[in-house]
């Protein structure tokens, strides 16, 4: 009884079916407009979380039902309530929560945060529709993630290996090249041999950033391997609540029905959380920390937990959320709650950036919790886990040596400490620093790690077996 003996029967999701026509009845009794909220009166037969279309001044906006109370219905309007006046509003309810069409029709497309085309093409269609909120995956059907996703970026592949079905966020601060990194991952990532697809959900990005992302991902998009959803900084804020859900619904279908390995990149989750906070404030909910609602943890989990591998099935959903930590504060609710949900974190740091390193990953505070099952013999290379542990331990030592050097001067250091400082230089330039379009093979990456380690006396390499040392350690430190 410990695990299901049969694989899940088929891949169909519950209650798939054609989209019913948009309901005809329209309601016009507006009771209140407040922030993104619209309260309608004299409504019946509307369910909680139902989707609605709001007609105002000849244009459509969209809403989700947040509360039904007798004949009152509270909606959050995705495009906001700006300019709306109680007089001319008409609301049509869809009769059920929001669903979107799914399938490979999304691949190669560029759409806005609600999934409407931005690329001049027709609206995306599909044979099936699925509710955007998804359903929780029965944990007994989960397969523990254990194969790597290779990004071609040395610091990630070597030290914080991303694993198929993992959720691994990038923590950054405003001004650092997290978007460049996220885009590079989106452009380069692959998983050994299987079909790989990317869903990139951009939230709250400036137009300059959007141009950069579109340009950089052009190739993968043209190859029909990528879906791009874009909510710009000047697009409606509340729409961001929907964007990741659409991205994940597309991704789950591509993974579990079409059998692809799907990587979902969501940037910037801080912008997403701000939209959640705005709705919460408009509802006058009691905040937990820094104005964010107490349910932010569960809300974020309902997104991040949509990653995974399913027993007996091909595909996988891997999630890389990107978020900026306000004032670089890792205890801020968004990074903090994210860290509680995700399986590790990749931390970017201004200090590393200041040393001229791209990507500016602070390797010592970064961690991929699933790396131990996704790297090593049979996954990447036999020496991978030990080499990564040794690189990090030596880096920690090198940091102390460097601090000591600042206190007492480099001349007063022991020879060992000096070798650690040399090691750090080699590591930073040989392994950690990398070009924006540079894609390195795993062999290359691990060999670079060994080259840096060669700067240390062999007796210092206590985490590596003699066997590995003999096999991989270059005899002379290589200059870079």
């Amino acid at each position: 009884m410990t695990d299901p003996t049969t694989a899940p029967s088929g891949t169909e999701r519950p209650d798939e079916g054609p989209n019913p026509g948009v309901a005809q009845i329209s309601h016009g009794d507006v009771r209140e407009l407040r922030g993104p909220l619209l309260v309608m009166g004299d409504v019946d037969d509307v369910g909680w979380d139902e989707f609605a279309t709001v007609d105002f001044a000849g244009r459509e906006r969209h809403g989700l039902v947040l509360e039904v109370d007798h004949d009152l219905v509270t909606l959050q309007v995705l495009e906001g309530t700006d300019a709306m006046a109680p007089g001319g509003v008409r609301v049509r309810f869809a009769g059920r929560p929001l669903r979107i069409p799914v399938g490979s029709g999304w691949l190669g497309r560029v759409c806005n945060g609600r999934g409407e085309p931005l690329d001049g093409g027709p609206p995306v269609t599909g044979d099936t529709t699925l509710p955007v909120s998804g359903w929780p995956l029965n944990p007994v059907y989960r397969e523990p993630p254990q194969e790597p996703v290779l990004t071609g970026i040395s610091v990630i592949d070597a030290l914080t290996t991303l694993v198929r079905g993992q959720k691994l966020p990038i923590f950054s601060v405003p001004g650092l090249p997290h978007l460049t990194l996220a885009t590079q991952i989106a452009a380069q990532a692959t998983s050994g041999g299987t079909t790989f697809r990317v869903v990139f959900a951009a939230m709250g990005l400036t137009h300059a950033d959007i141009a950069f992302v579109r340009d950089r991902l052009e190739e993968r998009s043209a190859a029909g391997e990528l879906v791009l959803l874009i909510n710009a900084a000047d697009d409606p804020v509340i729409e961001r609540i929907l964007t990741p859900r659409i991205a994940l619904t597309i991704a789950e279908n591509l993974a579990y029905t079409e059998g692809h390995d799907v990587l979902v990149i969501m940037s910037d989750m801080t912008s997403y959380a701000e939209a959640v906070r705005e709705v919460s404030a408009a509802r006058r909910e009691i905040p937990a920390r820094r104005g964010y609602p107490g349910y932010l943890y569960s809300d974020l989990a309902s997104l991040y937990e949509r990653c995974g591998r399913v027993r007996g099935q091909q595909g996988s959903v891997t999630i890389v959320p990107v978020l900026t930590m306000p004032a670089g504060d890792i205890t801020h609710p968004v990074p903090d709650l994210t860290g509680y949900i995700t399986e590790g974190q990749i931390v970017l740091s201004p200090e590393v950036a200041a040393r001229g390193i791209y990507p500016p990953v602070d390797a010592l505070s970064s961690l991929s919790r699933l790396m131990r099952s996704g790297a090593g013999a049979g996954r990447t290379r036999e020496d991978h886990l030990d080499v990564a542990a040794q690189v990090l331990a030596a880096l920690a030592h090198a940091r102390q040596s460097a601090e000591l050097a600042e206190l007492v001067g480099a001349a007063a250091l022991s020879e060992t400490d000096r070798s650690y400082i040399a090691y750090r230089g080699l590591l930073e330039q040989g392994l950690l620093n990398q070009g924006h379009d540079d894609r390195r093979s795993l062999e290359d990456t691990l060999d670079r790690a060994w080259s840096a380690l060669a700067a240390l006396p062999r007796r210092e390499l206590t985490m590596l077996s003699t066997e590995f040392l003999d096999r991989y350690l270059p005899s002379e430190p290589e200059a870079t």
Binding site: T2, W48, G294, Y340, L364
Partner: protein, 582 residues
């Protein structure tokens, strides 16, 4: 319970996420479970005012409308307790997940009467005879093949008298009668409201350690059977890892692992790990002594609240059979957040950080269900509770952490700095405590290890002194300290790296027997003594510091999990090599 008859129904008047209000259900009672709407979503009554009841929903409420019919079920949230729990996975409402579909949609039935459970066939082996006088807790018989402990079918609470009938069937199902006491039938499985504590005779006074297999806990902050412990720590400090290690290696009879609002991949990992590991004591698999309650963070939030009680209820069921049970809850903070979420939606006045004012009493009530007791059947058994706490921002002054500290016997505080420097388990020796050290010291003395308490006291003193000197060394430089103080610094390092650190992923080091733990600590303390003598004899501190301490530091990895002799045998060699320095 209300007599069966006309269905008692009402109509939904308000829905706000998991909170619903319903009008007009006749005679609805607190905690009664109701079925809502055409999907028959489970919900529980949490407040009644006039003819209006407030419900908390255990499923996603999308699509529930004003006017939807609500039907009272007449019962509270119950678990079906019987053979077949061990090795299985349930959700927070105790519905088997093993037979649930891939995607957990709304329309799952309210009942726990899962066909796979109902159809399963068991053999009942009576151990009483018709005509015997029986009372609650007496063993009626056993059910072979139901996990790694003997499954005992007991006389349920409240049933006394003469045994008038025993089943003669070779094959029985969960809800088949197995015996009759007077006129009352006893079924193979029993329904029990999960929020109600199961009765026992009394709490027992004796203090007996629970061996966790984690050195820092067993040597420094030991836990008694039937006590409660909390593990607070920011994300990535190793809470889950520690709890999983305890689930694997502690010397309890039964483990109930409650994944409360945490990761799905972790549940898969627990299931996978325990299914592969062999239970040394029974030869079976560790999963066969484990019940998993999985309510991951993306499953409905209010079921998270119930899952904690479901876990305790299952634990008490096995306790009543006479077993030592450990309940592991990861994480109690997610449970508290569910309480907060509901209280806020219900408009309750918040106390600190939005938490309801009754947070402390709710936590106390939960941890108080731990205990070592004499069961109704007269056996000594226990429920030990270990809960993870996830303080927001790692802030140990937040309400759940501070309240929890008041109600537990042990606090295993995980320190972010230790975790970042990869010192695992990152149990802080400044912030952790155990309240049972003296009583446990007496137990060890009475059970063959009188050295336990003095050893622990020396280790604690060494750690504190090494910390103090370490701070000083940072200011004036270690080389300016006198030799004997530098030996304290060295000793502190050997103690931390050679004894307290423990690699959960290592086959040799993941589990540590009590004897090996004691041997490792003795080894380090002996080395420290030797080093101090050398300094006294004029050997330079630098020489001693630069000696090869590898054999001490690697002893935990290079000897088997229970190889105390292997550790002890290093002592002579290590000490001799040190003596050669003079």
């Amino acid at each position: 319970m209300v007599a069966v008859g006309k269905p008692r129904t009402g109509a939904i008047v308000r829905v706000s996420g998991p909170l619903m209000e319903v009008d007009g259900v006749p005679d609805v009672s607190m905690l009664e479970v109701l079925a809502v709407g055409p999907q028959r979503i489970s919900a529980e009554t949490v407040a009644i005012a006039g003819n209006r009841a407030t419900l908390q929903a255990y499923e996603y409420t999308g699509g529930v409308k004003v006017g939807d019919t609500v039907e009272a079920t007449g019962s509270q949230l119950t678990g079906l307790l019987g053979p077949g729990l061990l090795g299985a996975v349930f959700d927070g409402l105790m519905r088997p997940l093993s037979s649930a579909p891939l995607w957990l949609t709304q329309d799952r039935t309210t009942s726990t009467d899962d066909p796979a459970t109902m159809e399963r066939i068991w053999t009942f082996v009576p151990s009483v005879a018709v005509g015997d006088q029986v009372s609650p807790g007496d063993v009626l018989g056993t059910v072979p093949g139901a996990g790694s402990v003997e499954h005992r079918a007991l006389v349920p609470p409240g049933i006394f008298g003469t045994l008038t009938w025993l089943t003669s069937e070779m094959e029985v199902h969960a809800l088949d009668p197995i015996a009759r006491v007077g006129t009352q039938e006893v079924l193979l499985s029993e329904r029990w409201p999960v929020r109600a504590a199961r009765p026992f005779r009394d709490r027992t006074a004796g203090v007996v350690p629970l061996h966790t297999g984690q050195r820092v806990l067993d040597l420094m902050y030991p836990l008694a059977r039937g006590a409660a412990a909390a593990v607070p720590g920011g994300f990535g400090t190793g809470k889950t890892m520690m709890l999983q290690q305890i689930a694997k290696w502690s010397d309890a009879d039964v483990i109930v692992y409650v994944g409360c609002g945490e990761r799905g991949n972790e549940m898969a990992d627990v299931l996978d790990g325990l299914s592969q590991l062999v239970d040394e004591r029974t030869g079976g698999k560790l999963i066969d002594r484990t019940v998993i309650i999985a309510n991951t963070s993306n499953m409905p939030m209010m079921a998270r609240e119930a899952s904690i009680y479901t876990g305790i209820c299952v634990a008490e069921y096995y306790r009543d059979m006479g077993y030592d049970v450990v309940v592991i809850a990861d994480s109690t903070s997610r449970w508290a957040e569910a309480l907060r979420e509901f209280a806020n939606r219900n408009g309750d006045l918040p106390a600190e950080e939005g938490y309801p004012a009754n947070l402390a009493s709710e936590l106390a009530a939960f941890y108080e269900r731990a205990g070592r007791v004499t069961t109704l059947g007269g056996q000594t058994a226990s429920v030990t509770v270990i809960g993870a706490v996830s303080p927001p921002g790692g802030d140990m002054t937040e309400p759940v952490t501070t309240d929890t500290q008041r109600f537990v016997r042990c606090l295993w505080l995980l320190d972010r700095d230790l975790a970042y420097s990869r010192h695992y388990p990152a149990v802080s020796w400044t912030g952790s405590f155990t309240r049972d050290e003296e009583a446990l010291g007496r137990w060890h003395t009475a059970n063959g290890d009188p050295g336990w308490a003095p050893r622990r006291a020396r280790a604690a003193a060494l750690l504190a002194e090494a910390d103090r000197l370490g701070d000083l060394a940072e200011i004036i430089g270690a080389n300016s300290l006198p030799g004997h103080e530098r030996m304290v610094l060295l000793g502190g390092r050997l103690l931390r790296d050679g004894v307290l650190m423990q690699n959960a992923l290592s086959p040799n080091d993941g589990f540590c027997s009590a004897e090996k733990g004691a041997a490792l600590l003795d080894l380090v303390l002996d080395v420290v003594d030797t080093c101090q003598q050398l300094v006294e004899r004029g050997v330079s501190a630098t020489t001693i510091e630069q000696a090869d301490h590898g054999p001490v530091l690697r002893a935990r990895e290079e000897t088997g999990p229970a190889d105390a002799a292997g550790v002890a045998s290093r002592r002579a060699d290590v000490v001799r090599k040190l003596e050669e320095l003079s």
